[in-house]
């Protein structure tokens, strides 16, 4: 058995590794294209640009999935006993370098390409490209994977560090010409490589006598035993920063970036998903035989209260941003409307969820689908820029999400 085959086994064939970087580049280039061509609203060229952006985004999602699978393998090797004792696994940890390298390459390639080709555009393309990769790394794949690899004790503990990635990104926004973003990209790449190196070194360190667990378990993010206040602060902080990110980014033109905007909103939720807390109790009670009517007060307390709090925080955040002059009222109101819809959809999805024994996904994806459709309708009603195009985008998104998940709608 060659060492190379072991290395590939971590991640998959080399073409998958290349795909992450390629898709990052494609997303960047597509977004630059949309930004720079500034096609007329409702024109075919605009539609083409948007579709190209959506396709690139789809490719990116596919890459995320591959990344997630690679991470699953990594966490199994360091965490699943049956696999840890396998010869090719524990003794070839270096193979995991592919995972981090792919991320680092994606970050630098995306930001670098945009920087080179979009100098005249004020670095906007760079920001867009990097944001996608940034969100992929820190908004989605990495927190979840790090949670598994580094044994963050509870799912809801993620809420406090979901906020952190947004801070440097927002700061880098303020540096003109894309230099801040490029510098940030290099720092991120260096950071993930350093993190990887540290992790591997910890894993390879011989165990100390008396350790009841492998040493890598000790290498973890501060295991803050969060109380409700810290959790609420974490959630509020990420909502505030997420809104800041969306509204202050100069490229956030309403029509072009709608899928992107939704993606950011999803990521915000991803970082502070409260479904565990909201739903675990409900499911137990449903299984215990409570009727839907009896569940209503529980839903109000366990699902609606957090939803209402988040919505209020979002409104407050919007008011602050407006007062500071960082965002327009219309922009904020639209954003807040989307936020409310999405939060309510998540809450309602809990009811769908408890009707299925197969898990929370059917309700969740149905909620996504509904949200995409409702927002498209809202665009049209609000008379925003080319409503027909927006409707088409969201319909496409709805159909694609629905098509991907139709088998799970097991009501």
């Amino acid at each position: 058995m060659s060492s190379m085959s072991v290395r590939y086994a971590w991640w998959g064939p080399p073409w998958q590794i290349g795909m992450v970087a390629t898709s990052a580049l494609l997303v960047t280039v597509a977004q630059i294209g949309v930004q720079q061509s500034r096609p007329a609203p409702g024109s075919l060229s605009q539609l083409a640009a948007i579709l190209l952006g959506l396709a690139a985004m789809g490719l990116m999602f596919w890459s995320f999935w591959l990344l997630g699978r690679g991470m699953q393998r990594l966490s199994a090797v360091v965490g699943a006993d049956a696999i840890r004792v396998m010869p090719g696994a524990a003794h070839n940890l270096g193979g995991a370098a592919w995972l981090w390298c792919a991320l680092a390459v994606a970050v630098v390639a995306s930001a670098g390409t945009a920087f080179v080709f979009d100098r005249d555009g004020g670095g906007q393309g760079a920001r867009i490209g990097l944001t996608f990769v940034w969100l992929a790394c820190f908004g989605g794949a990495l927190p979840t994977s790090l949670k598994q690899v580094l044994a963050v004790p509870r799912a809801d503990d993620r809420s406090w560090f979901a906020v952190l990635p947004f801070i440097p990104l927002v700061a880098a926004w303020q540096v003109p010409g894309g230099w801040g973003v490029l510098l940030l990209a290099v720092l991120v790449a260096a950071g993930v490589c350093w993190q990887f190196r540290m992790l591997i070194r910890r894993l390879e360190r011989a165990p100390t006598a008396g350790e009841s667990r492998p040493s890598w378990r000790r290498f973890s993010l501060p295991a803050v035993k969060t109380g409700p206040v810290v959790r609420a602060l974490g959630r509020s902080g990420s909502i505030l920063l997420g809104m800041l990110l969306i509204t202050t980014a100069p490229w956030a033109s309403y029509t072009h970036d709608m899928p992107f905007r939704l993606y950011i909103l999803l990521m915000i939720f991803y970082g502070n998903d409260q479904r565990g807390m909201e739903l675990a109790g409900l499911r137990l009670r449903w299984l215990a035989g409570l009727s839907r009517l009896q569940l209503i007060p529980l839903v109000l307390r366990q699902a609606m209260l957090p939803a209402a709090t988040d919505i209020a925080v979002a409104a407050l955040a919007g008011a602050v941003l407006h007062a500071l002059g960082w965002a327009e009222a219309k922009e904020l109101s639209v954003l807040w409307g989307q936020f409310v819809l999405m939060r309510m959809a998540f809450m309602l999805s809990s009811l769908c969820w408890i009707d299925t024994r197969s898990g929370w996904r059917p309700g969740r994806y149905l909620a996504y689908l509904c949200v995409f459709c409702v927002i498209a309708l809202l665009d049209w009603l609000w008379g925003a820029e080319p409503a027909v195009t927006a409707l088409l985008i969201h319909a496409l998104a709805a159909v694609s999400v629905g098509a991907m998940r139709w088998r799970r709608l097991a009501f």
Partner: protein
Amino acid sequence: MNDAVIEAHWLRCTLGDRQVLRDVSLRVGAGETLGLVGRNGAGKTTLLRCLLGLAFPQGGEARVFGESATDMSPRAKARLGYVAQNADLPAMHTGEQLLALIAEWQPRWDAVWAAQLVERLAVPLQTRTEKMSAGELQLLALVLALGHRPDLLVLDEPVAALDPVVRRAVAAILAELQAERGTSIVFSTHILSDLERLATHVAVLEDGVLGLQREVDALKQDVVLCRIERQTPLPSMLQCAGVLSWRLSGHGAANALVDTTQLPLEHLRDEFGAAIKARRVNMEEFVVEYLR
């Protein structure tokens, strides 16, 4: 005595404030099948993990194939198969993808044999692990552990989630492997019929202490369950060589597991001046009586 595949000397392990293993010494020879039994929380899983270097004892040492368990070479690991109590297999993979992955990690992987196992155990290869039932996961974990025809197989309650029919199939496969390759097997279980069917040796772990390790045939031959009865009260506890367990069952009556090689029944009769009825026990009766 045949070569030792696993040897443990004076293992001590504390998890948190709790001492889980207390000076456990153990030996498994080549070709032996050791059934490890004990009540819940007795330390079976921790012992197995210490034996494989997955948990680190505060004292003592475990050796596998002559190497320190906490520093096993890839060569030694390639001879080893392990099924953990919770089949913690990576998500986002189908059974087929996992088999392909593990085949790359295991230099001795036998694809034909693995395919046979899949067929015999009806493992759903197209299903993703997160959607598999506990039993299906356990079967997949078994195939992953057996696919390279290991020389040593360590199984932590491997059939707990399986139905009786599949359990029998698994037992047949293990027996085959042992007969063909002389694979040594160490398994923990609460299912005593499996112990009877598979084990050549039995070890009983009681609150972190290895109370007994014995060859099954010898145990069946030498150990008897005695009913001791006399007119006057019997002691509530009895600790003497040869008495493996002692349980009062009424005024002047007790049940005792007695190792007749250490304590002939005549001596017991003379000691207590009591009537003794003795009979041989099967493994299930032995374990239940021993752990009571």
